[in-house]
């Protein structure tokens, strides 16, 4: 860091002189306004004058030097001030990486905030899995968009009165479905513009009409949506993204029994191009449901399991409560409704009984009271998050273990609570989704979406 004169740059920001190395600026954000102004050859020895606030600039300069945001700044400047200033100097990407949370560890996360839309605050659906750390909340007939810093960047009113499923299909476009109106609808959220709709109709079968959307999944080849008619006939449709026309009808079924109800969860696995759907009905005698895998190219069922019923795997009275897919590792997870055990199945080696069960070695710590059973499961980066009633749990894999020179892969999963007891009393968890190292949780009849993050900083409370 001790350098000669040639590399040095002086900047006069609002009357205060700052001195830095040109390489500090050039290496971190070469295309920014700051880089252009700080070119040492272009201005001679007179410092370039920038008519901005010098105190906030010192924070920006420290961000360039250390690539972290000084902790002192958080009490002095608001998030919006810093964002505006970073945008002005063109160093927004640096600020973004400094402000995003560290990798999410489910066993060490805490509630950092609750995002509540201004009107109709009870979220009916939300999505956060697009990978750019943003969050889209559907509430009432509106969709509110929150950017990577979770600041509100806009709300779009749709023609629907309630939105029960939302899926991001392009950077700025959402596919939405409603439980009270038919069809899948596409909205461009950046312009607040209606794009189009797709309905499930069959000219040869007049009974197929007014079908409502139960679940949506996105893929590069098209949008998959499960539709259900009023008389429970249902099917998954593959919808072409450019024409918004139905490209294929997959797995049409009558919906007359638990084995043929509409899939309420759809997952697309890009590595092998398979579509996975599941449905679970909760009754007085426990859960019953199915997991089914289709190959959308042939519309054939590749594999399926019905619980209770099919296969040797079904554990008596302990059928699946929900499933999710770890897309990166091609692992199918299910959570058993009664015991809370975690079932894993390798998507590449599915057979008659592919399930490997993980149970907690310390079952005494887990009350098996009648609190509604497990309802929601979500996978995120080798972690399986499960909600049981209002409580939030996580299964995390323990690090691999070395024995001699060999590395033995120990697929040992441990169950921990994410939340505290008082958190679970806020209400039944209706949806969990993780994205951008944040965990989002919504609860039934509760306003807002909870944001959980891991942190490198301790929760320290001063009591003096």
């Amino acid at each position: 860091m001790v350098s000669d004169n040639g590399d040095r740059v002086k900047l006069n920001v609002g009357g205060e002189i700052f001195e830095t190395n040109a390489s500090t600026i050039q290496s971190t954000c070469p295309d920014s306004l700051l880089a252009a102004l700080s070119n040492p050859t272009s201005h001679g020895s007179i410092p370039v004058f920038i008519d901005r606030d010098p105190e906030i600039f010192s924070v920006i300069l420290n961000l360039l030097r250390t690539r972290t945001l000084p902790a002192t700044s958080s009490g002095v400047f608001s998030k919006q001030e810093l964002l505006d200033e970073a945008l002005y100097y063109g160093v927004e990407s640096l600020l973004r990486s400094a402000m995003l949370p560290p990798p999410l560890l489910g066993f060490d996360a805490s509630l950092v905030s609750t995002i509540t839309p201004a009107a109709d605050g009870i979220p009916s659906a939300f999505t956060a899995t697009a990978g750019d750390s943003s969050l889209w909340i559907a509430h009432g007939g509106q969709i509110s968009v929150y950017d990577w810093s979770l600041s509100h960047s806009g709300t779009v009113r749709t023609h629907l009165n309630d939105i029960t499923s939302i899926c991001r299909v392009w950077d700025e476009a959402a596919a939405i479905g409603s439980g009270s109106a038919s069809g899948l609808h596409f909205y461009d959220l950046s312009g607040g513009r209606y794009v189009g709709s797709t309905h499930w109709t069959d000219p040869e079968d007049p009974r197929i009409h007014k079908a409502r959307v139960a679940a949506v999944a996105d893929s590069t080849s098209g949008v998959f949506a499960s539709f259900e008619c009023l008389h429970r006939e249902n099917s998954v449709l593959q919808i072409d993204k450019s024409t918004l026309q139905v490209a294929a009808v997959i797995g049409q079924q009558p919906g007359s029994s638990a084995k043929t109800t509409v899939p309420e969860k759809l997952r697309f696995v890009p590595t092998n191009g398979l579509l996975i759907g599941s449905a679970v009905q909760r009754g007085v005698f426990g859960c019953s449901g199915y997991i089914r895998i289709w190959d959308p190219r042939s519309s054939n069922i590749v594999w399926e399991t019905n619980e209770p019923g099919s296969g040797r795997s079904s554990r008596f009275g302990d059928s699946l409560a929900d499933m999710d897919v770890d897309v990166e590792d091609s692992i199918l997870f299910k959570v058993c409704s009664k015991s809370g055990d975690l079932g894993m199945a390798d998507l590449r080696k599915l057979g008659e009984d592919p399930w490997v069960y993980m149970s907690d070695e310390n079952p005494g710590a887990w009350k098996s009271g009648d609190d509604g059973g497990y309802s929601v499961v979500h996978c995120y980066r080798k972690q399986v998050l499960a909600a049981r009633g209002g409580a939030l749990e996580v299964w995390s894999s323990v690090k691999e273990k070395t024995i001699g020179d060999q590395i033995r892969s120990e697929s040992l999963y441990r169950r921990n609570f994410v939340d505290k007891e008082e958190d679970s009393e806020r209400g039944m968890i209706s949806k969990i989704e993780a994205g951008g190292d944040r965990l989002f949780v919504s609860r039934e009849f509760m306003e807002g979406v909870e944001v959980w993050e891991s942190s490198n900083f301790s929760g320290i409370i001063s009591v003096e």
């Binding site: 902790a71 070395t402 505290k420 003096e464």
Partner: protein
């Protein structure tokens, strides 16, 4: 901006930090130690020294180098920024010394000042202070270990194989030894590597069953681990080399032969006594006829037991040893009173001297001391009873004996009421630990750790 010219003063150093000029002497800069950036500035011969860093933070760090104390203006900074900056310059130890030094521990002036909260629903099972003495802490809660750095501002959490960690000890910076009474093996966990298990140590017991860890202790050279076979019929203390983790020897091996159950009580506390080069091991067993236990003193190198106290009447509930006070302290399980025995006078028939009410010893069927913890730190002994803490301190009253040769102080121990009564809380204390200028307290079913320290003098950040 030009450097002021001072003739004949080669000792002076001018440094341009982010556009501001600082002047100091080479002596001040070299105080920072050879590894730090400051001493490189002192030896650097180029005339213009420029650092592309924040000048305000630099001025605070230079102040610390000059005076050893924090300036009052540092309270306008977040301590995290100061730590990050001091790490960059390589002088974090100065910051630790000025903020959290064990010499600043004032037993008579401890207040509950902070609460560290833990995520999840598991309450701490065991806590272990960091080895560098800066006042950091490792907390085992459920299957997780959360580590707080010396400033208690930064934390990291790792997941272990254990369903609950019962014994925890940091053996070198960032390396933990962890064991459980329901899971075989002592695991050496690398915190830097996200909780990677470096190795698992096991005791090859005669019954060829797996063995669980009952206690961990360490000296400057050795790591001691008390193992019990999972059949619970034999136990032993393994001695490992602290750096290589290779087994060195095995001491205090016991096994049950016949019906004598007392012969195989595993040791649940291991304490190294530096001044005597002895290892104190203790264990107790509760049965319908009462509580029995042992306190043994082992010479590790010769593998001989130097002395043993057999505890039958008013057995210890917890026991500790203080090098500074040359004494072993226990809290009796029946009486709930604190006792001590002088390390320099080992070997007497009834070694214990009661510090509280002697008459309580003979009370039968009382269990006043159950769950009490006793620990020593500095020149003080801390004993938790229920939800409160007693502080015992030594008072030298005079000299007895032949003044020319065997001079020994006549000393008494006095109890002090501890903290403000409002601080003591209502919940039973489950653990005590000490590090830097802090005392850490855990309470039953609380997912948090209390930090007790004296109000920082002058500067608080």
């Amino acid at each position: 901006m030009s450097f002021p010219i001072i003739p004949h003063e080669t000792n002076l150093v001018s440094i341009n930090v982010g556009g501001r000029i600082f002047q100091t002497t080479k002596q001040t800069l070299t105080l920072a130690g050879t590894d730090s950036l400051f001493s490189r500035l002192a030896t650097d011969s180029t005339s213009t020294r420029f650092l592309d860093r924040d000048p305000d933070l630099f001025s605070v760090l230079l102040y610390i180098l000059r005076t050893g104390n924090l300036p009052a203006r540092s309270s306008s900074f977040h301590v995290r920024d100061l730590i990050e900056e001091s790490r960059y310059y390589g002088i974090e130890s100065f910051l630790i010394d000025s903020l959290s030094n064990s010499s600043q521990f004032e037993a008579f002036d401890l207040r509950k000042s902070r609460i560290l909260t833990l995520n999840g629903r598991d309450s701490p099972s065991t806590i272990s202070p960091t080895v560098n003495g800066g006042g950091g802490l490792h907390v085992a809660h459920g299957s997780k270990i959360t580590s707080f750095d010396w400033s208690l501002r930064r934390k990291s959490t790792v997941l272990t194989n254990f369903s609950a960690v019962d014994s925890l000890l940091e053996i070198s910076p960032g390396v933990l030894a962890a064991g459980a009474t329901d899971f075989p093996g002592l695991q050496i966990i690398d915190l830097e590597n996200g909780g990677f298990v470096r190795t698992t140590l096991n005791w090859e017991n005669p019954t060829r069953s797996s063995s669980t860890v009952q206690a961990i202790g360490s000296s400057s050279h050795f790591l001691f681990t008390s193992f019990e076979s999972s059949r619970r019929n034999s136990n032993s203390i393994m001695v490992y080399d602290l750096s290589s983790l290779m087994p060195v020897s095995e001491i205090d091996h016991c096994g049950i032969y016949g019906s004598d159950i007392d012969s195989a009580i595993p040791s649940t506390k291991l304490r190294w006594i530096q001044s005597c080069n002895l290892l104190m091991v203790s264990g107790s067993h509760s049965s319908p006829s009462g509580v029995n236990g042992h306190i043994r003193f082992w010479d590790v190198r010769s593998r001989t037991m130097v002395w043993e106290i057999k505890e039958t009447q008013d057995c210890f509930s917890d026991v500790t040893v203080s090098d500074n006070l040359s004494a072993v302290f226990k809290v009796g399980v029946t009486s709930g009173e604190v006792f001590y025995t002088d390390l320099r006078r080992l070997g007497s028939e009834d070694p214990w001297i009661c510090l509280g009410e002697e008459k309580k010893r003979s009370l039968k069927d009382r269990r006043e001391g159950v769950g009490c913890k006793i620990e020593s730190y500095g020149n003080h002994v801390f004993c938790s009873k229920g939800n409160g803490i007693e502080l015992w301190s030594e008072v030298i009253t005079g000299l007895i004996g032949n003044a020319s040769r065997d001079v020994s102080e006549e000393r008494v121990f006095r109890k002090n009421s501890f903290g403000k009564s409002a601080d003591s809380g209502e919940i039973k204390i489950t653990g005590l630990a000490f590090g830097g200028n802090r005392m850490f307290v855990t309470r039953k079913d609380q997912q948090s750790i209390e930090v007790w320290q004296s109000p920082s003098r002058g500067v608080s950040i």
